[in-house]
């Protein structure tokens, strides 16, 4: 979906470094989400946001920080990266009406050495 973009697509960093993954959507969707996808675990929700300046923890929030100062952007920061955070990260968004599908970005493949 061209309406939601993630950057970078690939990132290699070292343990202890701070890294920020960007997510931008052009649909003005209220809801945005961050997932990580690992073999054997499927998609796990890290953080989500219902609107600008409203964020909340998901299933696996430890080690991550988010912000949402503007509706269209929802960056995810790993404050001090660990090897266990090596994963594929997906950002998604959805409309605020009930029963709406989520639209995913292309993902960021993050490797922490």
């Amino acid at each position: 979906d061209a309406g939601i973009t993630q950057s970078p697509r690939y990132k290699i960093t070292e343990t202890g470094r701070q890294v920020t993954l960007m997510c931008h959507q052009t649909w003005s969707h209220s809801y945005m989400f961050w997932y990580r996808q690992d073999l054997g675990h499927g998609l796990r929700l890290i953080y989500y946001s219902a609107a600008a300046d409203i964020t909340d923890k998901g299933e696996v929030p430890d080690g991550y920080v988010v912000s949402r100062s503007k509706t269209e952007n929802f960056p995810l920061t790993l404050e001090s990266a660990t090897r266990s955070q090596t994963s594929v990260y997906f950002c998604a968004s959805s409309e605020s009406r009930q029963y709406q599908p989520q639209h995913f970005g292309d993902g960021t493949r993050l490797s922490i050495l």
């Binding site: 809801y31 499927g42 959805s94 029963y99 599908p101 292309d106 993902g107």
Partner: protein, 114 residues
């Protein structure tokens, strides 16, 4: 908490064979969504089921929602190599205003031998 279980985890078929994946929830769902993720790609929404006993079709794909709204299935007739990918079901985590959060099953990886 709510769990969404999906079986099988993997399925390998010969092209032309049928395929079915099953999704079971520990709680009653207000709706269920299905997504497909091609290898190296991102999840893409396929369909949503809302009504008890609902059946929807998309060409060779048939989706069903159980009468008790706790289970669902996706059936593909006469698989093609383009069907390769992981199929996820997802149900809302909460009710009312919080149902925009989804719990995803772990997915079924379908591979097709041409």
């Amino acid at each position: 908490g709510q769990q969404v279980m999906q079986i099988p985890q993997y399925q390998h078929v010969q092209e032309g064979e049928d395929f079915t994946t099953y999704c079971n929830s520990s709680t009653t769902l207000s709706n269920i969504q299905w997504y497909k993720q091609r290898p190296g790609g991102h999840p893409v929404f396929l369909i949503q089921l809302v009504k008890s006993g609902e059946v929807k079709k998309q060409k060779r794909l048939t989706f069903q929602f159980g009468e008790a709204k706790k289970n669902s299935s996706l059936h593909i007739t006469a698989t093609q190599t383009t069907d390769v990918g992981t199929y996820f079901c997802a149900g809302p985590k909460g009710s009312g205003g919080s149902n925009y959060k989804l719990t995803f099953g772990k997915g079924t990886l379908l591979t097709v031998n041409p």
